[in-house]
Symmetry: C2
Subunit: 240 residues, 2 copies
Amino acid sequence: MSNNWHDEVLADVEAGVRINDRHIVDRIRQAVLMQRLPPGTRLPEVALGEIFGVSRSVVRKALTRLASDHVITQQPNQVARVSAPSIEETREIFAARRLIEGEVVALLAGKLDHDQCRTVASYIEAECQAHLDDDEAQRIEHSLAIHHYLADHSPNRTLGAMLSDLILCTSIVIALYKRAGLASCYLENDHAELLALLERSDAEGARHCVQTHLTALEALLDLRPQDKSIDLAAIFGKTG
Amino acid sequence: MSNNWHDEVLADVEAGVRINDRHIVDRIRQAVLMQRLPPGTRLPEVALGEIFGVSRSVVRKALTRLASDHVITQQPNQVARVSAPSIEETREIFAARRLIEGEVVALLAGKLDHDQCRTVASYIEAECQAHLDDDEAQRIEHSLAIHHYLADHSPNRTLGAMLSDLILCTSIVIALYKRAGLASCYLENDHAELLALLERSDAEGARHCVQTHLTALEALLDLRPQDKSIDLAAIFGKTG
DNA sequence: CTATTCGATTTTGTATACAATGAATGTCCA
DNA sequence: TGGACATTCATTGTATACAAAATCGAATAG
């Protein structure tokens, strides 16, 4: 499972790409984003150092930054792990993202020029196509591209940076709490509708559209209490 | 100027307090918050290491975290400095804080119990008293205590953490852009009014109150373009 | 007098060694 | 059998050494 990721990194090293802590941060963020590093994954410093071909110093710096962004969780004298937010935190993350992404798209309404709208449109198109092809990995990648594009072009860069972090956290909790039977978290038309509202300079419409979209996304998750712990008891319980 | 800060740290070391990176982060955050470390201040690693009695490793970790929170600015191979946001960034910080602190107090309306309200009331009282005493340092400390208390008690902890960072950034830009003649950024009654609205469970009233408060605070700053650079030209200009 | 280049110093970047802590496993005794 | 304890291994915490880069100043050429 994590072999793919490992191999890609090795390819970089062989290609003589200069690896610094920023690179490592980006790589791990990307892997978490694409759900190739599931929540709870152990991230020992020496292992990462060997994979990226650097010493622990660089890895540690990268891990510190990732911890600040809540991508990983560090406790003293314990290995870093990909964050696994609780159900309550998950709801809070969605609420925060509704507030901030809503504001960002409201600020963005009418501010994208023709070329930028076409770029977003191409992402939406690609997402739809990937969905038709049943290529979930591709679909997630294109979906994230849309939201990251909005974050990166936020007129308010402070809010844009916050949104980037929240997109990452959202991706983590989706990987954690996605309903078992659900193949994909695809919501048809939402993105296209948002783009139309942005082009029409309808700030409040765009805000509402995004907030509805995120609420629908949250509703696709299984956020009922007691989940993981009960599994073991149910499978190996005393009745067996 | 920074001797005060230096001495305090030494006192800690002598008292045998265990210094780790978190301690250093808190100390520097506090110093920035209290405007004892003005924007642009150099923060060399070895100097900090000697002051806190630790090696560069620990200092570097602390600096990395501070950079993630935008408290300091790091560029490769250059000494870290206390952040000095541009005028545009300053406006964005205030806009972001209006959005987020507004939401936090709206969520908080009616949620504080009697004791918590009394705690906030005591901070407000202390701020007012410090203002009457012309003790600006104390006034800032109590004012920050109010806002940090709200951030720490936010029902949505994600938004609360974001607000904490924004309070810090706000403190930095106030130190940077405070109008020359202005002794203090004290806005009478705003905090008391906010508390009354929170007790009355008036969420939208509280949101509006905070947003107005922050807009008034921003208006006290001198955010006209061309400031620092023109000074030099005016003073040492070719006409001299 | 100004601009530029060179060198010395300061400061950060990285690797590594060693200490300290934690987790896991195995052992002993009741 | 079952639990307390000790040992071992894995992993992080910290300090330090050395390399690389930037900054500052002085000397020099125009």
